[in-house]
């Protein structure tokens, strides 16, 4: 077994094991912690796939920002934070359906690439010089007209909409300045 395979097995166990903890643990805060560990595992998988930038982005966005947002959301509601509620409620059937549907969709998409790849004999050998330039190729692709410039601008509009929408929902129209 190579070092790479050992790391892959450890990282997979980390990702899946903590994933199970996330859904079974009744202490919401601990579930959030386990979720962060799971995200870390996913970052490890990205590193194994030679996607270092994506791994760093995973840490920055998912652990550094979204997890904190989720913990804040947990803390905003006192009752939820302390109650050790049951993991299942009346919507568990719907949840199961969504999970299975998402899995099927992902499996179908990944399956297109899977067939014909000899996954058990290591990855195709990509020279390091190509790998080192993936980030700048990505950057170029974001803003070149023959690649992804339209999705890129649409993404920024989407982000703007998310920001405005979130503020609109979270911020009362009559805010404290008027009260004071």
């Amino acid at each position: 077994m190579t070092l790479e395979q050992v790391i892959f097995i450890l990282v997979s166990f980390l990702t899946l094991g903590t994933g199970i903890v996330v859904v079974t643990n009744r202490n919401l805060f601990h579930a959030a912690l386990a979720m962060m560990a799971s995200f870390l595992g996913v970052a490890g998988l990205y590193i194994l796939l030679d996607a270092g930038f994506l791994a760093a982005a995973q840490l920055l966005v998912y652990i550094g920002a979204i997890s904190i947002l989720i913990i804040f959301a947990i803390m905003l509601t006192r009752r939820m934070m302390q109650a050790r509620e049951a993991s299942f409620n009346s919507q568990s059937g719907l949840g199961l359906f969504t999970a299975v549907a998402t899995f099927a969709l992902l499996a179908a998409v990944i399956g297109q690439f899977w067939w014909g790849v000899d996954a058990f004999n290591g990855r195709p050998d990509v020279p390091d010089t190509v790998l080192q330039n993936t980030v700048s190729s990505l950057g170029k692709a974001f803003v070149s007209p023959e690649a992804y410039v339209v999705p890129f601008i649409v993404a920024s509009v989407l982000l703007l909409a998310a920001l405005i929408g979130a503020i609109y929902v979270a911020w009362p129209t009559v805010h404290a300045e008027d009260e004071a």
């Binding site: 270092g52 760093a56 995973q58 840490l59 920055l60 652990i63 080192q132 980030v135 004071a180």
Partner: protein
Amino acid sequence: MSFNIGEFISSIFDLTAGDYLASVWGTEPWVSVVLDILGILIVATIPLLSVFFVGLIERKVLARMQDRIGPNRVGGKYGLLQMFADVVKMLTKELLVPAGADKVAYFLAPILSLATSALLFAVVPFAPGVIGTNLGVGVFYVLSISSVSVVALLLAGWGSNNKYALLGAFRAVAQLVSYEVPMILSLLVPIILASSMSTMEIVEAQAIPFVIFAPISALIFFVSSLAETGRSPFDLLEAESEIVAGFHTEYSGMVFGLFMAAEYMGIMFMCFLFSTTYLGGYRFFGLEEIVVGNGFQLGRLLGLFITIFKGALVFFVFMWLRATLPRLRIDQLLNFNWKFMVPLMLMILLTVALLDRLILDYIPQVGDAGRAGIHLVSNIIIGLAGIEVLRRSARRQRQRHNTTSTVLAVAENEGAPIFVAAEVEPAYGHDDHGHDAHAPVPAH
């Protein structure tokens, strides 16, 4: 090639020991693993151990600035062993866990804090070719690791089962998360100028240090690095007059020591990062390229000293500010960030990106110096405009202050004691932690 002890020792002195061992041991897979582990131990433990030294220096320098002597008993005249004595004391303290604490979070917090601080040093270029690992995404890696360290504070605050710790953690997270935005934007400027994210390549691109290209951006980076490390005047996360010691109120002994060490390592790292991205890192007029004798790379050793010297210079400013400036208030802190630094930095970022392209495309004959000059002028213009905006807003605030003081003066004439007027700060009164007498219970 066989192992030769003399060559090995010489390779240690010119900081090429790793390359030498690699050439002796060959190219089997285990060699890279062993070399990496050796490198990790060096990269992680040397900053950790130099906390002893840096902590002592800070105490001595602060003491001198405040007209004191500082540590002067343990370890001779200069208190050289003071920090060792402190660590021995910390190690022999009882490991206290407060009642009702969440033990997982309580112990995970200092571990995560120290681990992330150590991980940051993996991409610091200490000298030419001397770097933990030359990641292609170096600067981005730094940002992602330091954003993970924010989680540690939240864990500490939550795990301690203490009101002050929780309040401190909330505050700390709001501060760190907010100041990460100008830090991200100001780190983009050197990346644009060097056209690379690797710390090593950013240093290599600085024939002229980037601080000359973009002094305002460097200043913003410096300010946000002060805030990111929780240093004065941004040390709100441990404002002892308000929230005891902030998120580490309940920590004692070595567990507290770990937070302390992580903090100092974070400061050291920020100093190195500033010198890497803006001050030219290990470069100093070609001094870092000297090779003497039969291939002894003196330049590498000199490069190490240059890096440490530049880092120490930045650290001195850190200490100087700590001795000089009072603490900001949380509303001032956040307003300054979101309403001044972020818009200003966005402006600078757009200008630098556009201007650099125009220079490179249309007037490449001006060379590096001309490019630096044009950027410098545009940066200074934006900076001056920013200062003007600040001045106007301050004037507006003063005017508002004056009108409210008139009301108070009237109250004074009607027999109110004079100290009432002195104690009330009308212009800020309503937003100082934000609560009028009739407002609901403090909501943090």
